[in-house]
Structures are given as structure tokens and as C-alpha cells.
Amino acid sequence: MRPRLLIALAAAAALAMPLAAHAAMDMPGGGGGGSGSGPTVSIGFEAYQPSRVDALAGEAVRWMNDSARQHTVTAEDGAYDSGRLSLGASFTHAYDAPGAYRYFCTLHPSMRGEVDVHRVLLVAPGAPAGAGRVYPLRGRAALPAGAQVSIEADSGGGYAPAAQATVGDDGTFTAALTPSVSASYRAVAGGDTSPPVEVLVLDHAVRATVVRGARRAVVQVQVTPAAPGATVVLQLRLRDRFGWWPLITRRLDAASRARFVVGARGGVPARVLLTLRDGATELARSPTLSVAPRQARPRARA
């Protein structure tokens, strides 16, 4: 690496990481030793919540014991140890370099957690986007001001560049997206890739029609505006599943259509959801349908 770049990176790292490699335990009511900008983990009776968090390199992660039991936050590799934390006590630690860092409680070794440290992170969008409208996607980076961040999008066909952003003096960046369909976004910079976040575009409609036969029902689906490759799920409301149950998952074809074939069932409501690729996060749904068998026509009396 060139010396000037090394110096610049080291200077930026020093600015961005005031707490790097330092750990501190603070007591109830104390000011604490953390920067406050990183994630906070609640220590419960028998689990860390959440058990996995994302943090920026150099950013302080804070653990708060919210349970009546004593616990510790102890690195699996021995790099740090909070000692015993009683109810209300907290502990902070900052990680220098990207990576997955696992920790556990020495008093209750089945309690385990993980901090995934990155150089670049996207802020999970709090609201859905409108199709064709500018949407600000925000993030944070442990990179020098002026560093370029590439924003990549995947709406079903793999990640591709979607926007660029520049890291500001405060370590944040904003990319102006104009999404037309829901997609996963990730940020790439400084040799690191952020975990993905989902941007929902919620103006789709799901139209479903049923062709009912004696033994099976064919459900035809059309999603507008077109979202080829998007995920649709046929759900049935089943008594022994205690609610709506995803029965079949399909991808919309090039014409934004899909087709489900199910055994005909009387008294079982059906519906089709448009979801993110996880098949679970709902974007839109059809009205409730019937997949009951077609009634045989009564024979004409002679």
C-alpha cells in the first residue's frame, strides 16, 4: 500500500475510532464509557437480545444487564471480559477491524452472542418507498470523508450497481434512489460489503382468479405494475395450521404472471401474497378466494 494512503487511512481510523480497542464497564446511573452511537444489546435472563448485531469498526457496542441474574460479556477469543454485571450494569467494547466476533456468558455458557463488524453499514429503511419517486437510502461508514460508496441493488436477478454516495465529515452518507420495484440493497466500500437492507415499494396490486374443477383448482395471478421475478405465495387458511399457511411459492414470469394448482378444498379460504424474496415479508395481497370443488350440475329431470 502506498505510504500516503496508509497515513490517510490511519488518520481517518484514529478520527473515526475514538474508542477503538478500549472496553469499559459503567455502573447504574454512570455516564458510561461508550460513544453511544453503536448498537445496544440487552442481557436477559437467559439470552442476549438481539443475539447478533451489526456495528461499525471502531464503534462502541453497549451491553445492558436487564435481568435479575448476574451475567458476563466475555470474548470467545479472550480479547475482553466484562466481569460480573449485576442488574442495571452495562459494559461497552469497540472492535477495531471488520469480522464476526463471538462472545458468551461465563456464568451461563449456553448464552452466546455475535457482533458483526463492518466498514460500511446501511440504515434499515423505516418506511416503504413510492415507485418512481426519489428515496434517500442512508448509511454509515468507518471510512475517511470523501470516500466513495457504491450502492448495489438486487430485485431478483443478482446485485448490480444502483447508485453512488460520498462519505461526509460525520461518517454518514446518503444515496438518492429512484426505485420502481422492491429490492435488496447493499453498500460496497473500503473492501467491505454491508449486510443487505430491503427497500419496499408498496404500490403493487395482486389480482387472482380461480378456475375450479371437481378435484383441483387453478389460481392465476397477475401483479401490476409488472414485477417479473418477484415472489408470490399461495396461502390457505388451515385449521391445523392455526392461521394462514404458505402452501406454494412461485416467481412471477416475464409477463408478471404466475399459476398455482392446488387440490380443491371446500371451506378453505385462499389468497395470494406478493412478498420479498424471503417469501414472508408481505408487499401486497389479493382478496380472499375460494378453492372449493366445482359443484356438479344437477341432472335435468326426464
Binding site: E46, A47, Q49, P50, S51, R102, P109, S110, L238, D240, R241, F242, G243, W244, W245, P246, T275, L276, R277, D278, G279, A280, T281, E282
Partner: protein, 309 residues
């Protein structure tokens, strides 16, 4: 011959006898891959007993699982038959054999999401160290550290001492994250003349995310809905993974444990397995669950429906 040498000879001869292949033994080939999935632990988004609702953001876990494939990893296949009662993807494909059979498990790492190394490590069967699949720096080979895009064939033999149900799981450097994410399955090995059960249900107790799961699912309706008919020979393959103990309990039924003791609840620790059989005679809709109550309340409960004949 010294006493020690005699003991070694006897042990070798004993092991050979246990693993010896009968005349009608088969070689069984299984094709398996590690594949990424977005796994929903609570597809109906509710705990119907506790009255709690969830959103997909709380219940979907991007993870890696074992998936059954056609020969040559040409096409993905369902891990479990549609009408079998077991669900797809978690646990991994049930690998069936009879005592004396040779088993070849052809494994491919298709973990395109995390690109972690993976492996398969099998309990209960005979194999050489190159089929152990367990990572040990400086000692283990490619079998224990199958990189993304690479393959390995594990060569196993079901001995007479392999009859029963056994775990398999990732034992690569990624073992902890893989097991927490559902990378486990079972071998089901029958004696040469054991009758096939009419129904074979897989029950794996393991924590996942914030839930206590059966086969990676939490709460009634989400965990497998097992079904049988009065008169059928029913077999439950029960296993625990993780770091906690569980108790397998089925309402309205009893079975005979080794030693002739009737039971309706079986304690089970990490990587322990039990094969439990009975001839079904109790129609109705029954609960099955872990009787560690904090586990049951966190999701380790399901229903079993028996039709009258």
C-alpha cells in the same frame, strides 16, 4: 501373543464382524448439497397458544441447510415426501439404510450466500478418518473443510451396531453457525429383517434465533403436523441439537423403552437420538412437545393427528 495384542486382534475381528456385509447388502448413494435459504421459523406468524403475533422481520432467518439432490446434483429435490408429514429443508434428507449396507453420501457446497466451508459428519456408522467430516487443524483433510463450489464423497458402512437413528451435521470450521441455522439431519438404519414403518416422523429439538424449535419451526401449526391412521406402525426419529436437554412427550400414547419400561416422555441431550415405535390405536388430535416448559412456551410444541381406521 501378548494380552494387549490379543485384545487388539479381538477388537479388530469384532469390528470387522460388526461391519461385515451380508450377501444381500446394497450400496446406497445419496446426493446432498449445502444451499442458502430464507427460513421462516413461524410461517403462520403467531403463537396460537400464547396469543402472540410476529412479523416476518422477527421470524425469517437467512441460513444454510442440507438439501437432497438428484444424481450429479442435477436438480434439487424435496428432503421429505409431500405426503410423509415431515417438512422440506430442515432437517436435511433422511438417509435410510439397512445393517450391512454401504452408504455413499456425495456432498457439494452450494452456499453462495455466506460462502462458508461446510461438511457432513455422521454418527453411528463405520468410516475411515477421510469420511469423518470433522475439522481438526493440522490433521483433518478436505472432508472436513469443503469450500464453496467443491465436493466430497463420504463413504460409510452401516454395521450391525448401527441399527437405530443417528445424527449427521456440519462439523467444519462453520459448525457453530451451521448447527444454529439448521444444518443437521438423521440416518435411519434398520436391521436386515426389521419391518419398515408405515409412517416415520422426524423430530429435532434445537434452538433457532429467539425460538426453541422442532425441525426449525416454532409453535403449533408451524411445527410439522404429523398424521397417521389407526393400525399403522408409527416410528418417531427423535434427536436434540444445540447445548440444552429436552424431553420428548406425546399425549395419549405410551411406548416400551429398552428394559421393558413403559414411557410417555423421553429425556434427550445434544446429539442423542431415539427410535420410538408403536402400533397406532388412538385416534384424535394430540400434542407432542418438549416438556421443559420454557422450551414449550418458546415454540417446542406441535400436533399429531390420528385418523380412525
Amino acid at each position: 501373543m501378548t494380552v494387549r495384542a490379543t485384545l487388539v486382534a479381538l477388537l479388530v475381528a469384532g469390528a470387522a464382524a460388526l461391519a461385515a456385509a451380508p450377501a444381500d447388502a446394497q450400496t446406497r448413494d445419496y446426493w446432498v448439497a449445502a444451499v442458502p435459504v430464507d427460513w421462516n421459523m413461524v410461517p403462520n406468524e403467531r403463537d396460537a397458544l400464547g396469543g402472540t403475533s410476529f412479523t416476518a422481520a422477527e421470524t425469517v432467518l437467512p441460513t444454510v441447510v442440507y438439501r437432497r439432490y438428484s444424481p450429479g446434483w442435477m436438480h434439487p429435490e424435496r428432503n421429505a415426501a409431500l405426503d410423509g408429514g415431515n417438512q422440506d429443508l430442515i432437517p436435511g434428507p433422511l438417509l435410510r439404510a439397512r445393517a450391512g449396507d454401504r452408504i455413499r453420501v456425495h456432498f457439494k457446497n452450494l452456499d453462495s450466500a455466506f460462502r462458508r466451508p461446510h461438511s457432513m459428519h455422521f454418527h453411528g456408522v463405520h468410516y475411515r478418518p477421510s469420511s469423518d467430516g470433522a475439522y481438526l487443524p493440522g490433521f483433518s483433510g478436505q472432508d472436513a473443510d469443503v469450500a464453496y463450489g467443491r465436493t466430497w464423497t463420504y463413504r460409510l458402512t452401516a454395521g450391525r451396531d448401527s441399527v437405530g437413528v443417528w445424527p449427521y451435521h456440519d462439523h467444519s470450521p462453520s459448525m457453530d453457525a451451521s448447527i444454529a441455522g439448521g444444518m443437521y439431519g438423521m440416518l435411519s438404519i434398520l436391521g436386515r429383517h426389521d419391518p419398515l414403518p408405515d409412517r416415520e416422523f422426524e423430530v429435532v429439538f434445537a434452538p433457532m434465533g429467539q425460538f426453541q424449535t422442532i425441525d426449525g419451526r416454532a409453535f403449533v401449526g408451524d411445527t410439522p403436523v404429523f398424521r397417521s391412521t389407526v393400525g399403522q406402525l408409527v416410528q418417531w426419529d427423535v434427536m436434540a441439537m444445540g447445548s440444552e436437554h429436552h424431553t420428548f412427550h406425546v399425549h395419549g400414547h405410551r411406548w416400551i423403552a429398552p428394559g421393558g419400561v413403559p414411557r410417555d416422555t423421553q429425556s434427550i441431550g445434544p446429539a442423542e437420538t431415539y427410535r420410538i415405535r408403536w402400533r397406532e390405536e388412538s385416534p384424535g388430535t394430540w400434542l407432542y412437545h418438549c416438556h421443559v416448559e420454557s422450551h414449550m412456551n418458546a415454540g417446542m410444541i406441535g400436533i399429531y393427528r390420528v385418523k380412525p381406521r
